[in-house]
């Protein structure tokens, strides 16, 4: 990734993360992105500019439209979201170990 700080700042905004989530299913135009987010096209365009500047999306020219798609850097960002879920669940299951220990006292015998 060219500019990690720019990417992190770009990802800090929930609308921009939602736009990336939508683009995970495939290319979309500004008009297609504006609709589900109930935003004006200029507002969406501003978000897209930030994402493009951070190297998270790529745009191509097709007549008067400029469809967007995820850049490889964004795909690795989505992998980072998976790490966050992994950490949250790992914490849960470590606590569950303690709960289980109170349900099944092991009398010092090795188990598992």
């Amino acid at each position: 990734m060219q500019n990690l700080d720019a990417a992190f700042s770009a990802m800090a905004d929930p609308t921009r993360r939602a736009i990336l989530a939508r683009l995970a299913t495939g290319e979309a135009t500004v008009m297609e992105l504006a609709k589900p987010f109930e935003m004006t096209q200029p507002a969406v365009s501003r978000h897209l500019k930030v994402l493009e500047g951070a190297g998270l999306i790529l745009r191509r020219v097709e007549g008067t439209k400029r469809p967007c798609r995820l850049a490889p850097a964004a795909i690795s960002e989505i992998d980072r979201w998976l790490d966050v879920l992994r950490q949250a669940l790992a914490g849960n299951y470590d606590r569950l170990d303690d709960v289980l220990a109170t349900m099944e006292p092991r009398d010092g015998k090795a188990a598992g």
Binding site: A24, A90, D98, L100, M103
Partner: protein
């Protein structure tokens, strides 16, 4: 090792496995009994679960509410689909933030593994965008403070 393994599979799934040093019966019960759930299903530091209501039978509903001193709160609602005592729980859930996220279909199985239990979790979302949205949503609730800190700087 008791380490959690968690990965995406295909476009729509997230799968996880974890070994526990306890019987399938105990691990299963800890997933269904509110007084036990409230002790462990808490996520990142600082969160607690003041409300944990469930009706563990096919078609029965549940509602779990979390709260955090700084981040506020959110809740999950869901329905149980299938319950096979000590072996398998199937449910559907969504987060309310307050708008509901896409339904997450979750199958949890508990299998005897040596003296303990191997738990396997399979989440299925409607499509790749829903899965990405669900993962991104986790960021909203203090699961990753680094974004919030960078945002404050920017």
């Amino acid at each position: 090792m008791n380490k959690l393994v968690l990965n995406t599979e295909g476009d729509r799934h997230i799968v996880a496995t974890r070994h526990f040093r306890a019987s399938p019966e105990s691990v299963y019960r800890a997933h269904l009994e509110p007084d036990l759930i409230q002790k462990w299903m808490l996520g990142p530091d600082g969160w607690s679960m003041p409300v944990c209501v469930n009706d563990p039978r096919p078609g029965g509903r549940f509602r779990y509410e979390w709260t955090h001193a700084k981040h506020g709160g959110f809740h999950i609602t869901g329905e149980f689909v299938e319950l096979v005592p000590f072996r398998r729980i199937v449910h559907v859930e969504r987060m309310h933030l307050p708008d509901p996220t896409p339904d997450n279909h979750v199958v949890t199985t508990f299998e005897k593994d040596g003296a303990g239990t191997l738990m396997a979790l399979c989440m299925t979302l409607q499509d790749a965008a829903s899965r990405a949205a669900m993962l991104a949503t986790g960021m909203e609730h203090g699961m990753d403070d680094s974004y919030a800190r960078l945002d404050a700087l920017g």
